[in-house]
Protein backbone atom coordinates (compact mmCIF):
# COMPACT_ATOMS: atom_id res chain seq x y z
CA UNK A 1 0.00 0.00 0.00
CA UNK A 2 2.84 2.41 0.83
CA UNK A 3 5.72 2.66 -1.59
CA UNK A 4 8.15 3.84 1.11
CA UNK A 5 8.48 2.11 4.49
CA UNK A 6 7.40 3.97 7.61
CA UNK A 7 4.79 6.23 6.04
CA UNK A 8 1.79 4.25 7.26
CA UNK A 9 2.83 5.49 10.70
CA UNK A 10 3.04 9.01 9.29
CA UNK A 11 -0.53 8.85 7.98
CA UNK A 12 -1.77 7.48 11.31
CA UNK A 13 0.05 10.14 13.30
CA UNK A 14 -1.26 12.85 10.98
CA UNK A 15 -4.80 11.73 11.79
CA UNK A 16 -4.08 11.64 15.54
CA UNK A 17 -2.36 15.04 15.43
CA UNK A 18 -5.29 16.53 13.52
CA UNK A 19 -7.72 15.02 16.01
CA UNK A 20 -6.12 16.95 18.91
CA UNK A 21 -7.23 20.48 17.92
CA UNK A 22 -10.56 19.19 16.56
CA UNK A 23 -11.38 17.41 19.84
CA UNK A 24 -10.23 20.39 21.88
CA UNK A 25 -12.38 22.84 19.89
CA UNK A 26 -15.43 20.56 19.93
CA UNK A 27 -15.17 20.04 23.70
CA UNK A 28 -14.80 23.77 24.12
CA UNK A 29 -17.90 24.33 22.02
CA UNK A 30 -19.89 21.87 24.14
CA UNK A 31 -18.91 22.99 27.64
CA UNK A 32 -18.19 26.70 27.28
CA UNK A 33 -20.91 29.27 27.99
CA UNK A 34 -22.30 31.25 25.08
CA UNK A 35 -23.50 34.80 25.28
CA UNK A 36 -23.85 37.31 22.53
CA UNK A 37 -24.47 40.25 24.80
CA UNK A 38 -22.28 43.30 25.15
CA UNK A 39 -19.47 44.55 22.97
CA UNK A 40 -17.23 41.53 23.28
CA UNK A 41 -17.38 40.90 19.55
CA UNK A 42 -15.67 44.18 18.76
CA UNK A 43 -12.03 43.87 17.73
CA UNK A 44 -9.62 45.29 20.28
CA UNK A 45 -8.13 48.68 19.58
CA UNK A 46 -6.89 50.17 22.84
CA UNK A 47 -10.37 50.25 24.33
CA UNK A 48 -11.94 52.48 21.69
CA UNK A 49 -14.24 51.48 18.91
CA UNK A 50 -11.94 50.40 16.07
CA UNK A 51 -11.46 52.99 13.35
CA UNK A 52 -11.63 51.24 10.00
CA UNK A 53 -10.67 47.64 9.36
CA UNK A 54 -7.29 45.98 9.11
CA UNK A 55 -7.88 44.66 5.61
CA UNK A 56 -6.33 47.58 3.82
CA UNK A 57 -3.55 48.04 1.31
CA UNK A 58 -0.31 48.93 2.96
CA UNK A 59 3.39 48.56 2.37
CA UNK A 60 4.57 45.16 3.57
CA UNK A 61 8.22 45.73 4.28
CA UNK A 62 8.96 42.02 4.51
CA UNK A 63 8.24 41.54 0.81
CA UNK A 64 11.87 41.74 -0.26
CA UNK A 65 12.86 39.38 2.54
CA UNK A 66 10.28 36.91 1.30
CA UNK A 67 11.74 37.07 -2.21
CA UNK A 68 15.30 36.49 -0.97
CA UNK A 69 13.96 33.70 1.24
CA UNK A 70 12.55 31.82 -1.74
CA UNK A 71 15.96 31.86 -3.46
CA UNK A 72 17.84 30.56 -0.45
CA UNK A 73 15.20 28.03 0.50
CA UNK A 74 15.40 26.44 -2.93
CA UNK A 75 19.18 26.50 -2.64
CA UNK A 76 19.01 24.64 0.67
CA UNK A 77 16.74 22.00 -0.83
CA UNK A 78 19.21 21.52 -3.70
CA UNK A 79 22.07 21.10 -1.23
CA UNK A 80 20.40 18.32 0.82
CA UNK A 81 20.99 15.48 -1.66
CA UNK A 82 24.53 16.74 -2.14
CA UNK A 83 25.19 16.57 1.61
CA UNK A 84 23.71 13.08 2.01
CA UNK A 85 25.75 11.64 -0.84
CA UNK A 86 28.89 13.70 -0.15
CA UNK A 87 30.98 10.78 1.15
CA UNK A 88 30.57 9.02 -2.22
CA UNK A 89 31.11 12.08 -4.41
CA UNK A 90 34.49 13.39 -3.26
CA UNK A 91 36.47 16.47 -4.22
CA UNK A 92 34.71 17.26 -7.49
CA UNK A 93 31.33 17.59 -5.77
CA UNK A 94 32.90 19.88 -3.19
CA UNK A 95 34.22 22.21 -5.90
CA UNK A 96 30.87 22.16 -7.69
CA UNK A 97 29.00 23.06 -4.50
CA UNK A 98 31.60 25.74 -3.84
CA UNK A 99 30.80 27.34 -7.19
CA UNK A 100 27.06 26.98 -6.58
CA UNK A 101 27.26 28.61 -3.15
CA UNK A 102 29.62 31.31 -4.46
CA UNK A 103 27.06 32.32 -7.11
CA UNK A 104 24.40 32.58 -4.40
CA UNK A 105 26.72 34.53 -2.13
CA UNK A 106 27.19 37.02 -4.96
CA UNK A 107 23.39 37.22 -5.17
CA UNK A 108 23.20 37.81 -1.42
CA UNK A 109 25.86 40.52 -1.66
CA UNK A 110 23.89 42.13 -4.49
CA UNK A 111 20.64 42.07 -2.51
CA UNK A 112 22.49 43.46 0.49
CA UNK A 113 24.10 46.23 -1.59
CA UNK A 114 20.78 47.10 -3.21
CA UNK A 115 19.21 47.52 0.21
CA UNK A 116 16.81 44.58 0.03
CA UNK A 117 17.95 43.50 3.50
CA UNK A 118 17.42 46.91 5.07
CA UNK A 119 14.47 47.43 7.35
CA UNK A 120 13.79 51.09 6.67
Amino acid sequence: MFALPGYDAFLGFLLIAAAVPVLALVTNKLVAPKSRAGERQLTYESGMEPIGGAWIQFNIRYYMFALVFVIFDVETVFLYPWAVAFNRLGLLAFIEALIFIAILLVALAYAWRKGALEWS
Partner: protein, 373 residues
Amino acid sequence: MVSPGLDLELSFSQALQGFGFSPEVARLLWLPLPMLLVLVAAVVGVLVSVWLERKISAAVQQRIGPEYAGALGVLQPLADGLKLLVKEDIIPARADSLLFTLGPVLVVVPVIISWLIIPFGQNLLISNVGVGIFLWISFSSIQPIGLLMSGYASNNKYSLLGGLRAAAQSISYEIPLALAVLAIVMMSNSLSTVDIVGQQTGAGILSWNIWRQPVGFLIFWICALAECERLPFDLPEAEEELVAGYQTEYAGMKFALFYLAGYINLVLSAVLVSVLYLGGWGFPIPVEWLAGWLNQPIDAPVVQVITGTVGIVMTVLKAYLLVFVAILLRWTTPRVRIDQLLDLGWKFLLPLSLVNLLVTAALKLAFPVAFGG
Protein backbone atom coordinates in the same frame (compact mmCIF):
# COMPACT_ATOMS: atom_id res chain seq x y z
CA MET B 1 29.21 -2.29 16.35
CA VAL B 2 26.05 -0.69 17.78
CA SER B 3 23.82 -3.18 19.57
CA PRO B 4 20.32 -3.46 18.08
CA GLY B 5 18.76 -2.38 21.36
CA LEU B 6 15.20 -2.89 22.45
CA ASP B 7 12.74 -3.56 19.67
CA LEU B 8 9.34 -3.42 21.32
CA GLU B 9 7.51 -3.65 18.01
CA LEU B 10 9.18 -6.97 17.19
CA SER B 11 8.38 -8.43 20.63
CA PHE B 12 4.80 -7.16 20.45
CA SER B 13 4.33 -8.54 16.95
CA GLN B 14 5.79 -11.91 17.92
CA ALA B 15 3.58 -12.11 21.01
CA LEU B 16 0.46 -11.37 18.94
CA GLN B 17 1.48 -13.85 16.27
CA GLY B 18 1.79 -16.38 19.07
CA PHE B 19 -1.94 -15.79 19.66
CA GLY B 20 -2.63 -16.50 16.00
CA PHE B 21 -2.82 -12.97 14.52
CA SER B 22 -1.32 -12.32 11.09
CA PRO B 23 1.73 -9.98 10.90
CA GLU B 24 -0.36 -7.29 9.15
CA VAL B 25 -2.96 -7.23 11.90
CA ALA B 26 -0.20 -7.18 14.52
CA ARG B 27 1.36 -4.16 12.78
CA LEU B 28 -2.03 -2.40 12.63
CA LEU B 29 -2.61 -3.03 16.34
CA TRP B 30 0.91 -1.84 17.18
CA LEU B 31 0.84 1.42 15.18
CA PRO B 32 -1.33 3.61 17.45
CA LEU B 33 0.47 2.63 20.66
CA PRO B 34 3.73 4.61 20.27
CA MET B 35 1.78 7.55 18.80
CA LEU B 36 -0.52 7.87 21.77
CA LEU B 37 2.41 7.39 24.13
CA VAL B 38 4.42 10.14 22.41
CA LEU B 39 1.39 12.45 22.34
CA VAL B 40 0.83 12.00 26.08
CA ALA B 41 4.55 12.48 26.68
CA ALA B 42 4.51 15.70 24.64
CA VAL B 43 1.53 17.10 26.57
CA VAL B 44 3.08 16.16 29.92
CA GLY B 45 6.29 17.76 28.68
CA VAL B 46 4.34 20.96 28.04
CA LEU B 47 2.78 20.91 31.52
CA VAL B 48 6.21 20.41 33.08
CA SER B 49 7.77 23.24 31.06
CA VAL B 50 4.92 25.64 31.88
CA TRP B 51 5.37 24.85 35.56
CA LEU B 52 9.16 25.25 35.24
CA GLU B 53 8.68 28.54 33.43
CA ARG B 54 6.45 29.90 36.20
CA LYS B 55 8.68 28.70 39.01
CA ILE B 56 11.92 29.86 37.38
CA SER B 57 10.49 33.24 36.39
CA ALA B 58 9.32 33.61 40.01
CA ALA B 59 12.77 32.71 41.30
CA VAL B 60 14.42 35.16 38.87
CA GLN B 61 12.12 37.94 40.09
CA GLN B 62 12.33 36.89 43.75
CA ARG B 63 8.71 35.79 43.96
CA ILE B 64 7.33 32.44 45.08
CA GLY B 65 5.24 31.56 42.04
CA PRO B 66 2.33 29.09 42.01
CA GLU B 67 2.10 27.12 45.24
CA TYR B 68 -1.54 26.24 46.02
CA ALA B 69 -2.53 23.86 43.20
CA GLY B 70 -0.78 20.66 44.29
CA ALA B 71 2.60 20.40 46.01
CA LEU B 72 4.73 23.39 44.89
CA GLY B 73 1.97 24.30 42.45
CA VAL B 74 2.69 21.43 40.05
CA LEU B 75 -0.98 21.20 39.07
CA GLN B 76 -1.18 24.89 38.12
CA PRO B 77 -0.66 24.33 34.34
CA LEU B 78 -3.36 21.66 34.36
CA ALA B 79 -5.72 24.05 36.14
CA ASP B 80 -4.93 26.76 33.58
CA GLY B 81 -5.67 24.35 30.75
CA LEU B 82 -9.00 23.31 32.26
CA LYS B 83 -9.92 26.96 32.78
CA LEU B 84 -9.25 27.72 29.11
CA LEU B 85 -11.32 24.69 28.09
CA VAL B 86 -14.47 26.09 29.70
CA LYS B 87 -13.94 29.68 28.56
CA GLU B 88 -16.24 31.23 26.01
CA ASP B 89 -14.99 31.11 22.44
CA ILE B 90 -15.23 34.65 21.06
CA ILE B 91 -14.98 35.24 17.31
CA PRO B 92 -14.94 38.97 16.56
CA ALA B 93 -17.88 40.10 14.47
CA ARG B 94 -15.68 41.52 11.74
CA ALA B 95 -13.25 38.59 11.57
CA ASP B 96 -13.17 35.87 8.95
CA SER B 97 -14.44 33.05 11.14
CA LEU B 98 -13.18 30.14 9.00
CA LEU B 99 -9.59 31.38 8.75
CA PHE B 100 -9.80 32.51 12.37
CA THR B 101 -10.46 28.90 13.45
CA LEU B 102 -8.11 27.32 10.93
CA GLY B 103 -5.13 29.45 12.03
CA PRO B 104 -4.46 27.86 15.45
CA VAL B 105 -5.16 24.38 14.04
CA LEU B 106 -2.52 24.91 11.34
CA VAL B 107 -0.08 26.07 13.97
CA VAL B 108 -0.52 23.16 16.35
CA VAL B 109 -0.80 20.18 13.97
CA PRO B 110 2.69 20.42 12.33
CA VAL B 111 4.30 20.83 15.74
CA ILE B 112 2.66 17.62 16.95
CA ILE B 113 3.49 15.62 13.80
CA SER B 114 7.14 16.59 14.15
CA TRP B 115 7.36 14.16 17.09
CA LEU B 116 7.16 11.39 14.48
CA ILE B 117 10.91 11.47 14.00
CA ILE B 118 12.09 12.04 17.59
CA PRO B 119 14.11 8.99 18.66
CA PHE B 120 14.33 7.91 22.30
CA GLY B 121 16.40 4.83 21.46
CA GLN B 122 17.61 2.74 18.55
CA ASN B 123 14.06 1.48 17.90
CA LEU B 124 12.13 3.71 20.28
CA LEU B 125 10.47 6.13 17.91
CA ILE B 126 7.19 6.23 16.02
CA SER B 127 8.64 5.80 12.57
CA ASN B 128 12.18 5.86 11.29
CA VAL B 129 11.35 7.46 7.94
CA GLY B 130 14.26 7.85 5.55
CA VAL B 131 14.04 11.63 5.19
CA GLY B 132 13.77 12.13 8.98
CA ILE B 133 15.14 15.54 9.85
CA PHE B 134 14.16 16.98 6.49
CA LEU B 135 10.55 16.10 7.24
CA TRP B 136 10.81 18.21 10.39
CA ILE B 137 12.18 21.18 8.44
CA SER B 138 9.28 21.00 6.03
CA PHE B 139 6.75 20.74 8.88
CA SER B 140 8.23 23.73 10.63
CA SER B 141 7.65 25.85 7.53
CA ILE B 142 3.89 25.21 7.67
CA GLN B 143 3.59 27.10 10.94
CA PRO B 144 4.11 30.64 9.56
CA ILE B 145 1.11 30.09 7.25
CA GLY B 146 -1.08 29.48 10.31
CA LEU B 147 0.32 32.55 12.07
CA LEU B 148 -0.19 34.76 9.03
CA MET B 149 -3.68 33.35 8.61
CA SER B 150 -4.75 34.06 12.18
CA GLY B 151 -3.18 37.52 12.09
CA TYR B 152 -5.02 38.41 8.91
CA ALA B 153 -8.34 36.79 9.83
CA SER B 154 -8.65 38.71 13.11
CA ASN B 155 -9.22 41.98 11.24
CA ASN B 156 -7.29 43.73 13.97
CA LYS B 157 -4.32 46.00 13.31
CA TYR B 158 -2.19 44.56 16.10
CA SER B 159 -2.93 41.02 14.94
CA LEU B 160 -2.07 41.81 11.34
CA LEU B 161 1.26 43.38 12.28
CA GLY B 162 2.02 40.52 14.66
CA GLY B 163 1.19 37.91 12.05
CA LEU B 164 3.39 39.60 9.44
CA ARG B 165 6.24 39.86 11.91
CA ALA B 166 5.85 36.19 12.85
CA ALA B 167 6.01 35.13 9.21
CA ALA B 168 9.02 37.36 8.48
CA GLN B 169 10.85 36.07 11.54
CA SER B 170 10.13 32.44 10.73
CA ILE B 171 11.35 32.66 7.16
CA SER B 172 14.45 34.66 8.15
CA TYR B 173 15.64 32.03 10.62
CA GLU B 174 14.58 28.96 8.69
CA ILE B 175 17.47 29.10 6.22
CA PRO B 176 20.33 29.26 8.76
CA LEU B 177 18.51 26.51 10.68
CA ALA B 178 18.29 24.27 7.62
CA LEU B 179 21.93 24.97 6.73
CA ALA B 180 23.09 24.13 10.26
CA VAL B 181 21.19 20.83 10.01
CA LEU B 182 22.78 20.29 6.60
CA ALA B 183 26.27 20.24 8.13
CA ILE B 184 25.12 17.52 10.56
CA VAL B 185 23.52 15.57 7.71
CA MET B 186 26.80 15.71 5.83
CA MET B 187 28.66 14.23 8.78
CA SER B 188 26.06 11.48 9.27
CA ASN B 189 25.62 10.64 5.54
CA SER B 190 21.92 10.25 6.32
CA LEU B 191 18.80 12.27 7.02
CA SER B 192 17.40 9.73 9.48
CA THR B 193 17.47 10.92 13.10
CA VAL B 194 18.39 7.41 14.26
CA ASP B 195 21.47 7.41 12.03
CA ILE B 196 22.38 10.91 13.19
CA VAL B 197 22.41 9.76 16.82
CA GLY B 198 24.02 6.44 15.88
CA GLN B 199 26.93 8.35 14.37
CA GLN B 200 27.47 10.08 17.75
CA THR B 201 27.80 6.90 19.81
CA GLY B 202 31.07 5.07 20.05
CA ALA B 203 33.15 7.24 22.37
CA GLY B 204 30.43 8.63 24.61
CA ILE B 205 30.51 12.34 25.31
CA LEU B 206 33.62 12.81 23.13
CA SER B 207 31.82 11.70 19.97
CA TRP B 208 28.90 14.10 20.37
CA ASN B 209 28.45 16.48 17.46
CA ILE B 210 28.82 19.60 19.60
CA TRP B 211 32.62 19.20 19.59
CA ARG B 212 32.72 18.95 15.80
CA GLN B 213 29.99 21.52 15.14
CA PRO B 214 30.27 24.21 17.85
CA VAL B 215 29.31 26.99 15.43
CA GLY B 216 26.46 24.93 14.02
CA PHE B 217 25.22 24.29 17.54
CA LEU B 218 25.06 28.02 18.31
CA ILE B 219 23.37 28.81 14.98
CA PHE B 220 20.81 26.08 15.52
CA TRP B 221 20.07 27.16 19.08
CA ILE B 222 19.62 30.83 18.18
CA CYS B 223 17.39 29.92 15.24
CA ALA B 224 15.39 27.47 17.34
CA LEU B 225 14.73 30.20 19.91
CA ALA B 226 13.66 32.55 17.13
CA GLU B 227 11.37 29.92 15.60
CA CYS B 228 9.77 29.36 19.01
CA GLU B 229 9.33 33.13 19.46
CA ARG B 230 11.08 32.99 22.80
CA LEU B 231 12.38 36.17 24.43
CA PRO B 232 15.26 37.64 22.88
CA PHE B 233 13.13 37.10 19.73
CA ASP B 234 9.50 37.36 20.83
CA LEU B 235 8.72 40.29 18.52
CA PRO B 236 5.53 38.83 17.02
CA GLU B 237 3.86 39.15 20.41
CA ALA B 238 5.86 42.03 21.87
CA GLU B 239 3.30 43.14 24.41
CA GLU B 240 4.47 46.72 24.78
CA GLU B 241 4.04 47.38 21.06
CA LEU B 242 1.50 44.93 19.71
CA VAL B 243 -0.67 43.94 22.71
CA ALA B 244 -0.35 40.20 22.02
CA GLY B 245 0.40 40.17 18.29
CA TYR B 246 -1.56 37.62 16.29
CA GLN B 247 -3.08 36.22 19.51
CA THR B 248 -4.82 39.47 20.47
CA GLU B 249 -8.33 38.43 19.45
CA TYR B 250 -8.05 34.83 20.58
CA ALA B 251 -9.75 33.50 23.70
CA GLY B 252 -10.56 30.14 25.22
CA MET B 253 -9.43 26.97 23.50
CA LYS B 254 -8.05 28.67 20.40
CA PHE B 255 -5.72 30.72 22.56
CA ALA B 256 -4.83 27.51 24.42
CA LEU B 257 -3.88 25.89 21.10
CA PHE B 258 -1.37 28.68 20.41
CA TYR B 259 -0.04 28.32 23.92
CA LEU B 260 0.22 24.53 23.57
CA ALA B 261 1.91 24.82 20.17
CA GLY B 262 4.44 27.29 21.57
CA TYR B 263 5.49 25.04 24.41
CA ILE B 264 5.44 21.81 22.38
CA ASN B 265 7.67 23.60 19.91
CA LEU B 266 10.05 24.65 22.69
CA VAL B 267 10.35 21.09 24.04
CA LEU B 268 10.63 19.73 20.49
CA SER B 269 13.44 22.14 19.64
CA ALA B 270 15.27 21.22 22.83
CA VAL B 271 14.95 17.50 22.03
CA LEU B 272 16.17 18.15 18.49
CA VAL B 273 19.21 20.05 19.75
CA SER B 274 20.02 17.08 21.95
CA VAL B 275 19.47 14.66 19.07
CA LEU B 276 21.56 16.64 16.60
CA TYR B 277 24.35 17.91 18.84
CA LEU B 278 24.29 16.24 22.26
CA GLY B 279 24.24 12.57 21.37
CA GLY B 280 20.48 11.98 21.67
CA TRP B 281 19.86 8.96 23.84
CA GLY B 282 23.60 8.32 24.37
CA PHE B 283 25.01 8.16 27.89
CA PRO B 284 28.21 10.24 28.40
CA ILE B 285 30.10 6.94 28.89
CA PRO B 286 29.23 4.33 26.25
CA VAL B 287 26.99 1.62 27.74
CA GLU B 288 29.03 -0.99 25.87
CA TRP B 289 32.07 -0.05 27.99
CA LEU B 290 30.05 -0.03 31.21
CA ALA B 291 28.64 -3.47 30.40
CA GLY B 292 32.15 -4.66 29.60
CA TRP B 293 33.50 -3.42 32.96
CA LEU B 294 30.65 -5.14 34.78
CA ASN B 295 31.19 -8.32 32.73
CA GLN B 296 27.62 -8.25 31.46
CA PRO B 297 26.89 -9.35 27.88
CA ILE B 298 25.37 -6.40 25.97
CA ASP B 299 22.64 -8.62 24.51
CA ALA B 300 21.29 -9.84 27.86
CA PRO B 301 17.60 -8.85 28.30
CA VAL B 302 18.24 -7.03 31.61
CA VAL B 303 21.05 -4.98 30.10
CA GLN B 304 18.84 -4.19 27.10
CA VAL B 305 16.03 -2.93 29.30
CA ILE B 306 18.43 -0.83 31.41
CA THR B 307 20.05 0.59 28.26
CA GLY B 308 16.66 1.51 26.81
CA THR B 309 15.57 3.20 30.05
CA VAL B 310 18.84 5.09 30.36
CA GLY B 311 18.39 6.23 26.75
CA ILE B 312 14.95 7.69 27.42
CA VAL B 313 16.13 9.34 30.65
CA MET B 314 19.18 10.84 28.91
CA THR B 315 17.06 12.27 26.05
CA VAL B 316 14.64 13.89 28.47
CA LEU B 317 17.42 15.12 30.76
CA LYS B 318 19.36 16.79 27.94
CA ALA B 319 16.18 18.31 26.52
CA TYR B 320 15.13 19.78 29.86
CA LEU B 321 18.59 21.18 30.47
CA LEU B 322 18.10 23.15 27.24
CA VAL B 323 14.53 24.11 28.20
CA PHE B 324 15.97 25.45 31.46
CA VAL B 325 18.51 27.52 29.54
CA ALA B 326 15.75 28.84 27.25
CA ILE B 327 13.61 29.85 30.24
CA LEU B 328 16.52 31.58 31.97
CA LEU B 329 17.28 33.44 28.72
CA ARG B 330 13.67 34.53 28.46
CA TRP B 331 13.59 36.06 31.92
CA THR B 332 17.01 37.70 31.85
CA THR B 333 17.51 39.15 28.36
CA PRO B 334 15.90 42.19 26.74
CA ARG B 335 14.11 41.99 23.42
CA VAL B 336 15.90 42.88 20.17
CA ARG B 337 14.41 45.36 17.70
CA ILE B 338 12.88 44.14 14.44
CA ASP B 339 15.71 45.54 12.30
CA GLN B 340 18.30 43.98 14.62
CA LEU B 341 16.44 40.68 14.36
CA LEU B 342 16.43 40.74 10.56
CA ASP B 343 20.06 41.89 10.45
CA LEU B 344 21.11 39.06 12.74
CA GLY B 345 19.34 36.51 10.58
CA TRP B 346 20.27 37.70 7.11
CA LYS B 347 23.60 39.45 7.53
CA PHE B 348 25.19 37.32 10.21
CA LEU B 349 23.65 33.86 10.64
CA LEU B 350 23.05 33.16 6.95
CA PRO B 351 26.64 33.83 5.75
CA LEU B 352 27.99 32.16 8.88
CA SER B 353 25.96 29.01 8.32
CA LEU B 354 27.08 28.82 4.68
CA VAL B 355 30.70 29.14 5.78
CA ASN B 356 30.10 26.52 8.47
CA LEU B 357 28.73 24.15 5.84
CA LEU B 358 31.68 24.64 3.50
CA VAL B 359 34.20 24.28 6.34
CA THR B 360 32.49 21.05 7.37
CA ALA B 361 32.69 19.78 3.80
CA ALA B 362 36.37 20.70 3.55
CA LEU B 363 37.16 19.07 6.89
CA LYS B 364 35.29 15.97 5.83
CA LEU B 365 37.47 15.75 2.73
CA ALA B 366 40.63 16.30 4.76
CA PHE B 367 39.81 14.11 7.79
CA PRO B 368 37.20 11.59 6.61
CA VAL B 369 37.48 9.41 9.72
CA ALA B 370 36.75 12.17 12.22
CA PHE B 371 33.86 13.57 10.17
CA GLY B 372 31.87 10.49 9.41
CA GLY B 373 33.76 8.93 6.50
